[in-house]
């Protein structure tokens, strides 16, 4: 049973919404996010920091008729909010703003059955399983002269969204992550494992520890390799980060402006173009099994692909890439209408898959004559938006595969690669599994990815980091 938030501390979310609605002079959207979090951090075989918190954010979006259309203004505040002040601030911003480029009729009302329910909470009890195993993990690490560092966090967030057009939505979700790093004495060898989870019921420190021990064992033999292009197996965690970079860069308006790798000639986009010879599918679905996320749009801020006017919009399964072909870019309704495409705003999960494949990561390793198996990627940054070239590092374990077996660990590398190009060059793809990107998992926790083999991954230089 999950703990309750102390109801006496603040007025209920629904009451806050009702008051804001009553005070608003015109059309508006009100978003209340109730967030409860607990986390523990550890390093050098001991506990370091921790935290338990209760957060609440109230966002009021006011819409106002202005010269040439409708303007929007947003004010957000945390905690026990002065609603009158917040509504007035949002309305003042709307009145002071020019007509919004993304103005659109507000979404028709839908009322969720559970709208009236109170928010759930979380606390350190959710991490009891992790905490109770860590003591033993630290003891075994000490005995084996390795050090463990890591982090376990759990968040329970409940979103309440209401609009003056009758929308009353509620969505509750749990988001958790476990990271574990093991380093040999002196730090010459290191390895990592990470998992994303909704409630920690599917996370085992013992299983993670076994994996760390196995991977550290692989590093008993050390092989130095120079920079160059290598046959490389990118594991699901690495693909999660590379596909997140691609997904974040998939705004349709930006492509039409000519500023992304998805830009086509003459203000067009590359939608419809085959990006990958394999029939890969990259998709998001708020109802995807095990990856569930908010099935409606809720935002306080407009951007090139999300709009405050779209609050309450039903989110549907969206194929970004289908059968290797670029199918959709990210659009809010106003942008989609201008470009005569369906509205496909961002959704908070991402799956890459090769339909029908049955092989796993081990099968990819077994089928490799000589190549590299990575653990994860780190410090990934865009170098050139025109090609979507990303730079970054391999981190915590690069393994040498020979004749289908891991035979040792290699130094780390800096890579320069474009995720779009990688999809085009993928020669082998495993079935997809729930994973956590080391770099972007913080922003895109819900991901299912395959391992992917490419023949010529660009390791630009050697990194002596270990």
């Amino acid at each position: 049973m999950s703990p309750r938030l102390r109801p006496e501390a603040m007025a209920p979310a629904q009451a806050v919404i009702d008051e804001a609605m009553a005070r608003a002079k015109g059309e508006c959207a009100v978003l209340v996010e109730e967030i409860s979090e607990a986390e523990v951090r550890f390093a050098n075989n001991t506990m370091t920091t921790n935290g338990v918190r209760r957060d609440r954010r109230v966002t009021v979006v006011a819409f106002a008729p202005v010269d040439g259309g409708t303007a929007a203004g947003t004010a957000r505040a945390g905690g026990t909010v002065d609603i009158a002040e917040l509504v007035a601030a949002a309305e003042a911003d709307a009145a002071a703003s020019p007509a919004a480029e993304d103005a659109f009729e507000l979404v028709e009302g839908t009322v969720d059955d559970d709208y009236g329910l109170a928010p759930g909470g979380t606390d350190l009890l959710v991490l009891e399983g992790v905490l109770s195993h860590l003591g033993g993990t630290f003891e075994r690490a000490e005995a084996a002269e390795r050090t463990i560092a890591g982090f376990a966090e759990h968040q329970l967030s409940t979103t309440y969204l209401a609009t003056s057009s009758g929308v009353r939505r509620r969505h509750a979700q749990g988001t958790g992550a476990l990271h574990l790093v093991a380093r040999s004495a002196g730090g010459a060898r290191s390895t990592w494992t990470g998992s994303g989870t909704a409630d920690f019921s599917d996370v085992s420190v013992d299983v993670a520890e076994e994996r760390l021990v196995r991977q550290l064992g692989w590093a008993a033999r050390r092989v130095e390799l120079p920079a160059g292009r290598y046959e490389t197996i990118l594991p699901p965690a690495a693909m999660a980060d590379l596909m997140a970079a691609l997904y974040f860069a998939a705004a349709g308006q930006d492509a039409e402006d000519g500023r992304t790798a998805f830009s086509g000639p003459n203000g067009g986009t590359r939608v419809g173009e085959v990006l990958a010879p394999l029939p890969l599918r990259l998709w998001s679905d708020p109802r995807a099994a095990g990856l569930g996320c908010a099935p409606f749009l809720a935002t306080g801020t407009s951007g090139s692909d999300v709009s405050v006017f779209d609050n309450g919009l039903e989110l549907e399964v969206t194929d970004w890439i289908e059968s290797g072909r670029l199918e959709h870019l990210r659009y809010h309704r106003a942008g989609a209408a201008r470009s005569d495409v369906p509205a496909t705003p961002p959704i908070d999960n991402l799956v890459l898959e090769l339909p029908g494949t049955t092989q796993n990561v081990e099968d990819l390793v077994a089928a490799t004559g000589r190549g590299l198996l990575l653990t994860c990627l780190w410090y990934i940054r865009e170098v050139d938006p025109a090609t979507m070239l990303q730079t970054g590092l391999t981190r915590d374990g690069v393994y040498l595969v020979e004749d289908g077996e891991v035979v040792g660990a290699v130094n780390n590398f800096r890579f320069n690669e474009s995720p779009v190009d990688l999809l085009a060059r993928a020669v082998d793809v495993s079935r997809s599994e729930r994973t956590l990107g080391r770099e972007f998992g913080e922003w895109l926790n819900r991901a299912e990815m395959p391992a992917v083999r490419v023949l010529d991954f660009n390791m630009s230089s050697v990194s002596p980091a270990s």
Binding site: R53, R54, A77
Partner: protein, 505 residues
Amino acid sequence: MSHVGTPSDIFDDDLLAAIRDTALTAARDAGCSHAEVRVERIRSQWIRLRDARLESAADDTEIGVGVRVVREGSIGFAASVALTTDEVRHVVDQAVNAARVTAFAATTRVELAPEPSHGEVDWRSEYDTDPVEVPLVDKVELLAAWSAGLLAAPVISHTMASVLAVTEDTYFADLSGTVATQRRVRLHPQVEALALDEVGGGFETMRTLAPPVGRGWEYLGGDGWDWATELAAMPELLAEKIAAPTVEGGEMDLVIDPTNLWLTIHESIGHATELDRAMGYEAAYAGTSFATFDKLGTLRYGSPVMHVTGDRTTPHGLATVAIDHEGVAAQSFDLVRDGTLVGYQLDRAIAAATGFDRSNGCAYADSPLHIPIQRMANVSLQPAEGEGPTTADLIAGVRNGLYIEGDKSWSIDMQRHNFQFTGQRFFRIVDGKLAGQVRDVAYQASTTEFWGAMEAVGGRSTYRLGGAFNCGKGQPGQVAPVSHGCPSVLVRGVRVLNTLAESGR
């Protein structure tokens, strides 16, 4: 009856005193050897214009109370957005409980290095006009005018203009008796122009080099940066860039402007000299450091002209403050002297664990709901003694190289050895003179080799403060603002890459 607080009266003295007394008394009663309570209100405003039209604007007020305790050698932290004395009592209970339950798995006791009471402190950063108080319409008009000016140039197809303004109010009190009320104001304005390459396809962008600063709205009026001159020069510079030849990679000498170098300092010195990293406490996330503690006083970090300091005192610096989030007074200290590693950035726990008498004041939490951790001071490379050498003097010393302005892409490995940076503008240097821009440049190096190859630093006339709002560290992730001062420098024999070739094109 419990006191109730809302954003408009967070700095009501009675409420703060009630929260402080409730928190510290409850923590003392629970047997805590240390406790600190922090109430914060962080107001921010984000505005972005696309092609001179407002795309997004949002006002935000973050508010809350956080309590950190040390009890029987174990740390606990809890926080809430509800500012009532009842809730604060509950928060202390949660923090004490967190210290208790994590103690079962702990193998080491946490101690904090001592810090005397600083009594009552009232401080605010140097600014004239609180940017959050400036009407939205004035801000939008200014950015729209700047954008329209750029869009009038035929070469420019699109613009993006944004400002992030933050006013951070902090009330801090601890068991030793320090009670600090502080306000910090900061601004990050940016304007980017995009030109389409009609000949070769593709595009190029150019962004203003103006840094984020600890100043008020007067910064956009020209106090601390010459916006008019910078914006006026952008169309021609961008036209030259889009027509520029692609770079021929190889080893060459670099003259690096402070507008680019600050980020190289941030990544390869700032993070590498954080002692919690060097001791392995960030191994799971931000990473460790090649500059391990056993090398203090001996590691050759760079050439003899390299003198790097850390401080939380520089006027307009983004990390500047009077009292840090652990109650430690702001200080200034050496990190690298004559090319040798001589110091680290510390918080109280890491100072105590490594035998320092005192923290040098580098604790920060980005929110009242987050625990303070060691974060970066303003880490700065000191210029040469006199006004010179000038940037032109440094360029004159290069036969074949590049002069680099403005930061763009950045990446460095988890021990801070191998880095790669791009920039906003790259000018070829031929026989001591600038010879036009080139495109598609990245420079790649290893930290100690790079700084070891630094032949000269510019004089005081070349010194500028750069910085960032978004330095990431810790789990859960926290972002911190930080400034870095530096002169122009000359570095010999750096590996320059062609980014098109890197992408296999």
